[in-house]
C-alpha cells in the first residue's frame, strides 16, 4: 500500500470513528409507546402529588390561564425562548404513551420518549437525584390526572442552540450530579432537607450562578443568581448574616407568608413558595433546616459600583413619594401593618440586599394577588412613578435602612429593568 493510500485510509477510519462516536453520543433510541397507562393505587398517587409539588412541576408546566400541567409557559433564556410542554397523560400531545422507563430516562438523562434531547432548562440535572420510589410515585400521579389535548408551542431558540443533538455535548460537560448519599453524621431531617433542595426542589436552578452555556457553576452552588430580572439571593450563611433568618421565619417565608423582618416572596419565588406551602410541614421544616446549616461563602463579595450619597432634594422627594405611594400600607401607623402584617420596608430582605434590583422590581411590578387568597398583594407602580421618582424613593428607603451603605447604580438598574417590564 502506498504511503498516500495509507493516509487516506487512516483519515477515512478516523472520520468514520469520529462519526460513530458522535452518533453514539447524540443518538438515543425511542422507547416503545404504551397503549394506555396502568392504574395506580390512591396511596401511591397521593405520595406522587407531594413529589410533583416538591418538584415545582406545575410552576413551569402550567401557563397563566392554561390547564394544569398542560405546558405552554414561555421561558426566556439567553439562547432563545423555550415553551414548557404538556405533561398530562394525553396520548398524542402529552406523556400518555410514556412507559415508566421513558419517564425515568427523561428525569435522569433529559431524553424524551422518542429519543430527542430535552433542553437543560428542564432540571434533569437535579431530578436525577430522585429516588426510584419517588419517581415511581410521581409517574403514578402524573399518569392518573386528566389528559389535556394541548400541542406544544414551537420553541424559538437561536442557532446553534436550536440543534438539539448538541445538548449531548452539554450533558458530557455538565451532567455530573453525584448520586444522593445521606450524610451519616447529620440528622434525618437535615438529609431530607438536602435531598429536597438539591433534588426535586432544584433550588440551584435559580440560586446558583450560570456559566456562559447556561449550566450551574457547581463550585458556587446556591451563592445567588439572576432570573427574569430578579436577584435570586445567595442561600449561603442565612443564619449568620447581619439580619439572620430563624428557622420559623424561613419556614413561613417558604410557605409564601409575610414574615416579620424579611418580607414575603415576590417575583419568580412567589409561585414556588405557593407550591411549597402545599407540601407536608415536615418537608418544609427539613428544607429550612438544611438551608440554615449552609455556611457563608468565603468568596470576597464582588466589587459594587459607584454609589452616591443622598442629596437633600432627593431625600425630600423620596419622603414625599413614600408618604403618598407607600405609607398607606407600609407607613408606621398604617392599619395594614397591624391587621395584615405588612412589613416595615426597612427590614425587608429586598431593602437589606446589597443591590437595589429586587426592591425596584417589586415596586415596578408589585405582587399580583392570588385568586382565592386574601393576600398579600401590592399594586404595580411602573406607570405611577417615573425613573427620577423611583430613584428618589429607592435612595430614601435605603437611607432609612442602611444610611452608611447607599445602593450602587440605582439609575442604571432602573433603566435596565424598565426595558424588561412590559
Amino acid at each position: 500500500m502506498s504511503r498516500k493510500k495509507l493516509w487516506v485510509s487512516a483519515a477515512v477510519a478516523l472520520g468514520a470513528g469520529g462519526l460513530a462516536v458522535a452518533f453514539g453520543l447524540m443518538w438515543r433510541p425511542a422507547i416503545d409507546p404504551i397503549d394506555k397507562p396502568v392504574e395506580f393505587d390512591t396511596a401511591q398517587i397521593a405520595r406522587g402529588a407531594d413529589v410533583v409539588t416538591a418538584g415545582d412541576c406545575a410552576v413551569c408546566h402550567t401557563r397563566p390561564g392554561g390547564k394544569y400541567l398542560a405546558g405552554g409557559l414561555p421561558l426566556v433564556t439567553p439562547f432563545g425562548t423555550l415553551y414548557s410542554t404538556n405533561i398530562t397523560p394525553d396520548a398524542t400531545t402529552g406523556i400518555g404513551q410514556w412507559p415508566f422507563e421513558a419517564f425515568v430516562r427523561a428525569m435522569r438523562e433529559g431524553i424524551s420518549r422518542d429519543g430527542h434531547f430535552l433542553y437543560p432548562a428542564f432540571p434533569y440535572k437535579h431530578y436525577r437525584l430522585l429516588s426510584d420510589d419517588d419517581l415511581a410515585d410521581a409517574y403514578a400521579y402524573l399518569m392518573s390526572g386528566p389528559p389535556v389535548y394541548e400541542p406544544a408551542t414551537p420553541n424559538r431558540m437561536k442557532f446553534p442552540m436550536n440543534i438539539r443533538p448538541l445538548i449531548a455535548g452539554w450533558n458530557l460537560m455538565f451532567l455530573h450530579t453525584a448520586p444522593f448519599e445521606p450524610a451519616a453524621q447529620q440528622s434525618q431531617q437535615w438529609n431530607r432537607g438536602r435531598y429536597l433542595v438539591e433534588g426535586a426542589g432544584h433550588c440551584g436552578g435559580c440560586h446558583t450562578p450560570l456559566n456562559f452555556l447556561g449550566a450551574e457553576k457547581d463550585t458556587k452552588a446556591l451563592s445567588g443568581g439572576v432570573v427574569d430580572g430578579w436577584e435570586a439571593p445567595s442561600l449561603l450563611g442565612l443564619a449568620s448574616r447581619e439580619k439572620p433568618w430563624s428557622q420559623t421565619q424561613l419556614v413561613e417565608y417558604l410557605q409564601a407568608k409575610v414574615v416579620d423582618n424579611h418580607g414575603t416572596p415576590a417575583g419568580p419565588m412567589r409561585p414556588v413558595s405557593q407550591e411549597l406551602a402545599r407540601l407536608p410541614q415536615t418537608d418544609v421544616d427539613a428544607i429550612a433546616e438544611y438551608l440554615l446549616s449552609l455556611p457563608a461563602s468565603d468568596a470576597k463579595p464582588s466589587p459594587i459600583g459607584a454609589s452616591t450619597a443622598l442629596t437633600a432634594e432627593s431625600a425630600r422627594l423620596g419622603h414625599d413619594l413614600f408618604q403618598g405611594a407607600c405609607a398607606g400600607c407600609h407607613g408606621g401607623a398604617a392599619p395594614m401593618r397591624a391587621i395584615d402584617g405588612r412589613p416595615a420596608l426597612t427590614t425587608t430582605s429586598a431593602v437589606q440586599a446589597d443591590k437595589p434590583r429586587n426592591f425596584i422590581k417589586t415596586v415596578l411590578e408589585g405582587i399580583a394577588p392570588t385568586p382565592g387568597e386574601p393576600g398579600p398583594a401590592m399594586p404595580p407602580f411602573a406607570a405611577s412613578l417615573n425613573d427620577q421618582q423611583l430613584t428618589a424613593l429607592a435612595e430614601f428607603i435605603r437611607h432609612q435602612a442602611s444610611p452608611d451603605k447607599p445602593w450602587p447604580d440605582v439609575d442604571a438598574t432602573i433603566q435596565a429593568l424598565r426595558q424588561e417590564t412590559p
Partner: protein
C-alpha cells in the same frame, strides 16, 4: 405646602398642596373632578383609576410630587352627560353600572387599553380589567360594554 403644577385633562393647574398628597385627593378636593373615587386607598380596588401619560394608574397611591410634565386624564375628559364618549355611551347602553362607584375607574382602565390596542381579544381584555373590582358584581355587563365598543370599531368608530 408648595406649588405643584398638574396637567389635568389638557389644562395646567398650579396648586398649593403638600407634594406627598395622592393625586386622587388633588383631583377631587382641589380640582373638583369627582369622577375618580376613593375606594380602598391602597391601590387594590381600582375605583380611583385615571390615565397618566398613556397608562392607567391608581391615583390613590400616586403622589402629586413629580407629576409635573406628565399628562393626567380623568373620566371627565371623555365626554359630557349630553355628549358621552364611546365607552361612556356603551356603559349606558348595556346598563353596566349598578351603584356606579367603580365605573369611572373601569372606563379609564378600558380607555387606556383601547387606545393602545383597539381590538383586544377577550382574554386580553379580561386580564387587563382584572385589577378593577366591582362589589355589585356587574363585571359581565362591564365586559359587554367594552366589547361592544371594540365590535363597533373602537374609540373612533
Amino acid at each position: 405646602m408648595s406649588k405643584v403644577n398638574l396637567n389635568v385633562n389638557g389644562q395646567v393647574h398650579s396648586l398649593d398642596i403638600d407634594p406627598d398628597m395622592p393625586l386622587l385627593y388633588a383631583l377631587r378636593n382641589q380640582l373638583e373632578l369627582n369622577g375618580a373615587k376613593y375606594g380602598c386607598g391602597l391601590g387594590q380596588c381600582g375605583a380611583c383609576t385615571v390615565i397618566v401619560d398613556d397608562k392607567p394608574v391608581f391615583s390613590c397611591v400616586t403622589p402629586c410630587a413629580g407629576l409635573e410634565g406628565r399628562k393626567v386624564r380623568t373620566v371627565e375628559s371623555l365626554g359630557t352627560a349630553e355628549h358621552p364618549g364611546p365607552l361612556q355611551q356603551a356603559f349606558i347602553d348595556t346598563q353596566a353600572a349598578q351603584c356606579g362607584y367603580c365605573i369611572a375607574g373601569m372606563i379609564m382602565r378600558a380607555q387606556a387599553l383601547l387606545e393602545k390596542n383597539p381590538r383586544p381579544d377577550q382574554a386580553t381584555l379580561r386580564t387587563h380589567m382584572a385589577t378593577n373590582l366591582c362589589r355589585c358584581g356587574t363585571h359581565l355587563r362591564i365586559i359587554e360594554a367594552i366589547t361592544r365598543v371594540i365590535e363597533n370599531g373602537g374609540l373612533h368608530g
